[in-house]
Point group: C2
Chain length 542, copies 2
């Protein structure tokens, strides 16, 4: 054993790990070959079906001391299969319909390996060369998809050193931050002796322009990353103003207008409106055209967070749902969501190619002025070549392929909504506009009881149903056969009280109608044995 | 061809790309198998040696229209090999010593594929399960490496829902932003009726505490991401105060102290000192203990940007160079630099496990209070399972393996410095403290001329040498045999005038002494035919 341990610790063997690949019959090579030949089978076989409690899993990750001695790769591979892979989440399972992580097209696996092997750094041309024009092209293609400018626009700007049509990001959060950073810096831009917020900071900017405060207005269904964004930007979470939504979970633009005028009358400048195109919880799309009108009235930045819904633009049949997005100053789209790219691929697009002037930066050793280095217009610095995977998906799947995927998901969500509505023990809480919907299990006896209940009983049932829904969701996850997530909404049906619901995302192309049927059946069974139900709700079942 | 194109566009074939892997004899499978069996060979053979001009490369990335029709994976693979891979940068080449991207240990390639195939999302346990304790363990190990707390500390905090010992990030920039975001929010924290900057914004915070402005003090060699950070945080780039360095490129702490007191006397609060542990340009390490003393005097946050140098802590022989880092409130370390992990793995560590309280956030559908979801303490939202690759490297290479790698790099840099000093036509500009150094080519005749030159001649020679060095660096890169980068310093030797120099990073374990010798020889040859030299400097060669 000691001899084995020493194998990596000699100079020669250290160099070997950089030069000699794993033998084809090594544990790691075998794992890799299983993944290559049958990913779904590999995941099904190696991820344990029954959930192990987190505190049990943690036992394998207890020491805080970096091991002194090297470990053989095969030993490590063995450990990781038992301790990590077995207790990871089968996000690609067709019955895992609770979150936005789905199955991946097979070809992205070998391409990811190529990307890692090339180990390019997209911050600058000197460490990425052809990856730079490739990333600019992907941004151009996505810009064209959203804004549809003509050829001359793209031949002028797509590869221009001075501008960026967008920025690649690790995900939608960084995309949203980048968009609102630009919005803030453009609002408080240089003017006369004042050198602008980027140079002088927020306070100088506010004094110069005479604003008492800044506000960002967004639907109450806006993503939590917007809270982080205004915190980071120094605007403060109190100044992200949540506007009520109607029963369809779309923001009420009249309420937004009223609030905006109130704020501006009191000296608070509305810095940006954020429209949501596919809310995280219900998949609803805000009325983007009306919001664009309002942002023009207010003279403020209009950002659309289409992290989830942006890919819908790829479908001629449904892109009209996002009508008005082409009027946004900036748009967030996550390629690692409905574009089926692996985790870590977000992007933000800018209507005005000069938008990134507001955050441009340089350094002596890279990002020199006039260079085409991507890093001078991004929040992040060193970044991997994820753009290649988006490029690959756009080319291999093609617009028509994406259209089919998007359309199928929406149809599937409608089918599932019908299945829920047809079962008298389930209640559909939000209708699917894209492929998300929410629902809950409420036995018809409870539904009947609620209709005649006095206020006190009603509130007791509401509270109990919330506990019960949370319990069911947890037990279903732990059973390991399927997974739906849960969230809390305030539907009219429940007097706008906080209401815990199952949340479902139907983006996995492998999720069939039979699977959906099974999930409802499983929930019915789980309900029968639910301890929370027994304790708090069975008394209403007479 | 049409029939071929249609293959992916039918519903059946669309599903196939999610279920059926590439055939073993397909183009993409062949590429993958080449990478697996011989990565270095693959890169050597497939990346073109001679640089193609960027405007030529761009021709293959011109269209901004997403293709309507799908493309066969094999056709795409073929295209990408010719248009992208051939014109990417061979960052793993032992003669590519200009940037911080190096060769990778072989085992990270199959592990990356496993990571992509599992497609976990580390924002929450529901989409990452065992990856969450794994990531917490890696943060714990790195925390222990830097801060060396005892076992009881780690068993209390490492897996605690309430705290984080650090945060994984896409890279050092996000790590630095996270650190200074926390510093700002802790400085302007809630107090009495004032709810804190996170809620109320920067202006309310400044008014509450009576500060006229905030400042961040850092060496003039600080990384450009710090400028982005203070811009983003609303502090303004003018308020990042660059402090002069001595001849060894370490910050002058006395000058920093003087400046800090000046600022505070005028009502500007020093929010943070940033120490650099391995400057990007010269690899120098600031006097961290002295800076820690100063930050205690000032009662301000002390951040250490050890993106590059942090890995030196893994060597018992050199970790003393970073002495004082254990007194930092936060530390940035990039695993994708000297820890040989692929691009996209940065991290920030916090001395105080409760530090992230200042940026904590929740949402209804995830990151619920009391959960162990990592996302409630990170700037980013959805994130891939990169922590697994850091975990793998720590285990497989072990501390002793890293020690050997780090030590070898430092020794190699000293050897190269000696080679430069022994050649009378080269000048070493910065001595290596870690494995970075800078130098330039100045023929001995020019060196002699400079000694007797009048002021005007001297300045002319200085300017010409700068142009010449830049020209040589560019021509060497274009020739494709080797790569050094360049930057601009202000060494005493050149009267503190801006001085363009070659910059070298010797972290690739495969870079040999023979290669370094060749690089100097190549530069001597290049100098002979350099058009800038001929035009501006040959007249001084009498």
């Amino acid at each position: 054993m000691d001899q084995k341990r020493c194998a990596v610790a000699s100079k020669e063997s250290l160099i070997r790990i950089f030069t000699v690949p794993e033998a084809p019959d090594s544990t790691l090579s075998k794992i890799e070959s299983e993944i290559s030949s049958n990913l779904a089978g590999f995941l099904n076989e190696n991820i344990a079906a029954i959930e192990k409690p987190l505190h049990e899993i943690e036992k394998d990750f207890q020491t805080a001391t970096i091991p002194e001695e090297p470990t053989f790769v095969s030993d490590y591979a063995q450990d990781i299969m038992e301790q990590l892979v077995a207790h990871s989440v089968h996000t690609a399972a067709p019955s895992f319909i609770g979150h936005m992580t789905s199955a991946l097209p097979h070809f992205v696996l070998p391409l990811s390996k190529l990307m890692v092997g090339l180990n390019q750094n997209l911050v600058k041309i000197e460490t990425s060369k052809a990856f730079t024009p490739l990333e600019r092209q992907v941004l151009g293609m996505m810009h064209h998809l959203a804004y549809g400018e003509d050829d001359s626009f793209y031949s002028k700007w797509m590869h221009s050193a001075k501008t960026s049509l967008g920025a690649f990001c690790s995900g939608g959060t960084v995309a949203n931050i980048t968009a609102l950073w630009i919005a803030r810096n453009r609002l408080l831009k240089a003017n006369g002796d004042y050198k602008g917020i980027a140079a002088q900071g927020l306070i100088a900017g506010m004094l110069h322009y005479g604003y008492k405060g800044l506000a960002v207005l967004v639907s109450e269904r806006g993503h939590y990353s917007l809270g982080k964004t205004v915190d980071l930007l120094g605007i403060g979470r109190d100044n992200i103003v949540a506007i009520a939504t109607g029963e369809n979970n779309k923001v009420d633009v009249d309420a937004m207008r009223k609030k905006a005028h109130e704020l501006e009358a009191s000296g608070i400048k509305v810095m940006a409106l954020v429209g949501v195109a596919g809310t995280t919880e219900t998949g609803s799309i805000d009325p983007l055209n009306e919001m664009a009108d309002l942002s023009e009235e207010l003279g403020c930045h209009f950002h659309v967070d289409a992290a989830w819904g942006g890919a819908t633009l790829l479908s001629s049949n449904y892109r009209h749902l996002l009508s008005g997005i082409e009027r946004a100053d900036s748009i967030t789209i996550d390629a690692h969501k409905q574009m089926y790219v692996p985790m870590g691929a977000g992007l933000v697009l800018f209507k005005d190619p000069a938008a990134t002037d507001a955050i441009e930066h340089h350094a002596e050793y890279i990002l020199r002025k006039g260079s085409k280095d991507l890093g001078s217009h991004t929040l992040e610095g060193s970044r991997p070549g994820m753009a290649m995977l988006v490029h690959a998906c756009l080319r291999v799947i093609g617009r028509k392929g994406y259209e089919m995927l998007i359309d199928r998901s929406i149809v599937k969500a409608r089918t599932f909504a019908d299945m829920i509505k047809q079962d008298e023990d389930f209640e559909l809480i939000s209708e699917p506009e894209l492929c998300l919907l929410t629902y809950r299990y409420v036995p018809k006896e409870i539904q009947a009881k609620l209709k005649e209940a006095d206020e006190e009983t009603k509130l007791d049932i509401y509270a109990s149903l919330n506990r019960f829904t949370a319990s069911m969701q947890k037990r279903q996850r732990e059973a390991g056969r399927s997974f739906v997530s849960r969230t809390r909404l305030t539907p009219a049906k429940y007097d706008h009280q906080p209401t815990v619901v199952f949340r479902v995302v139907l983006a996995n192309p492998l999720t069939s109608k039979a699977i959906l049927k099974d999930i409802l059946a499983e929930q019915k069974e789980l309900a029968k044995t639910d301890p929370v139900f027994k304790k708090y709700l069975s008394k209403y079942m007479d």
